[in-house]
């Protein structure tokens, strides 16, 4: 199956999930919880949303495997960039 031949994902379903996650995020952000728990929960929801956009709207899910490798290649570099400097504090 080539990149053009895949079936269309359920774009509206993804949209509804993104919308619900956004509402959940806004609600969760104002709960009376420890700051660390709030931050971890919010980042999990944000990464989940970002992954949905990349996989379904950017069609990464239907790309060849080597495109996946290319797409995730900056993530370790990004983590390294932050960790390398954050240890200063």
């Amino acid at each position: 199956m080539t990149e053009q031949e895949h079936a269309h994902p359920r774009y509206i379903l993804i949209f509804v999930i993104l919308l619900l996650l956004t509402l959940a995020e806004v609600g969760y952000a104002f709960l009376d919880l420890p700051k660390l728990m709030l931050a971890v929960g919010l980042i999990i929801m944000a990464v989940w949303k970002a992954a949905l956009v990349a996989m379904y709207y950017m069609h990464l899910r239907y790309e060849p495997r080597r495109m996946w490798i290319l797409a995730v290649s900056p993530i370790p570099l990004a983590i390294l960039l932050v960790l390398a400097v954050i240890t200063e504090f």
Binding site: T2, E3, Q4, H8, Y11, I12, F15, L18, L19, T22, L23, E25, V26, A29, F30, L38, A39, L42, I43, M45, A46, V47, K49, A50, V53, A54, Y57, M58, E63, P64, R66, M67, L70, A71, S73, P74, I75, L77, A78, L81, V82, V85, I86, E88, F89
Partner: protein, 218 residues
């Protein structure tokens, strides 16, 4: 060689990455953009760890409901963009033009709301160059004392400003694609331009999803 044959070749997967060159080029560009935004987000995290007193709790200074609405708009624009691509994949010229126009309008609305937000915040004194921000925010219970230091405003305007610039450039590119669509430049077999601008637009949406969480909610 017919136009259709040339167009088909335009999206022909190339050896190596097995995608056509324009798409590969856009992906490589977007990956460089990942590093660009990482430098901004990384700086933000480091500065916030180093100077936590410069920040306040979410919703006190920044207008979360308005920005949540803006986030909703940008997510909607991703749907309209992907619908435009799906339309031209089926040869639906009218659908392509309508969905592209919707994407342009929603994207412009996002930028407009961001400008309104900047105007409101700056009129309240939330600027990066001030020593401290004392204005009374939305439902702020801490009237009087400082509501954060200059790093709060500096990082806020840097991150959201660069993102807003990306959205603005995206809207301009979409307008270009829209006028090409009106002249019938895209067909079922020649839709690389729509797909590539779509990738850029979805990336801008993806970055905003992360920025909204990091800047406004945490």
């Amino acid at each position: 060689m017919s136009d259709a044959a040339v167009a088909t070749m335009d999206r022909k997967p190339m050896p190596g990455m097995k995608v056509y060159n324009m798409k590969l080029g856009m992906w490589v560009f977007l990956l460089s953009e990942v590093m660009f935004f990482t430098s901004l987000i990384g700086s933000y995290i480091i500065l916030r760890f180093a100077h936590p007193d410069h920040w306040t709790d979410p919703g006190i200074v920044l207008n979360v409901p308005l920005t949540a609405l803006n986030t909703f708009f940008l997510i909607c624009s991703s749907v309209t963009m992907v619908k435009a691509f799906a339309a031209i994949q089926q040869g639906d010229q009218k659908g392509l033009k309508n969905w592209l126009l919707a994407t342009i309008l929603i994207g412009a609305a996002f930028v407009g709301i961001q400008i309104i937000e900047y105007a409101a915040l700056s009129s309240e004194g939330f600027l990066p160059m001030l020593d401290a921000y004392h204005a009374v925010g939305r439902g702020n219970p801490h009237e009087g004392p400082s509501l954060g230091g200059p790093l709060y405003g500096a990082t806020f305007y840097a991150m959201t400003g660069f993102h807003g610039a990306h959205v603005s450039i995206g809207v301009l590119c979409l307008i270009f694609v829209y006028f090409r669509a009106r002249s019938g430049a895209y067909t079922e077999e020649s839709l690389a331009g729509v797909e590539v601008i779509g990738l850029y637009w979805h990336f801008v949406d993806l970055v905003w999803i992360l920025l909204f969480t990091i800047v406004y909610l945490i």
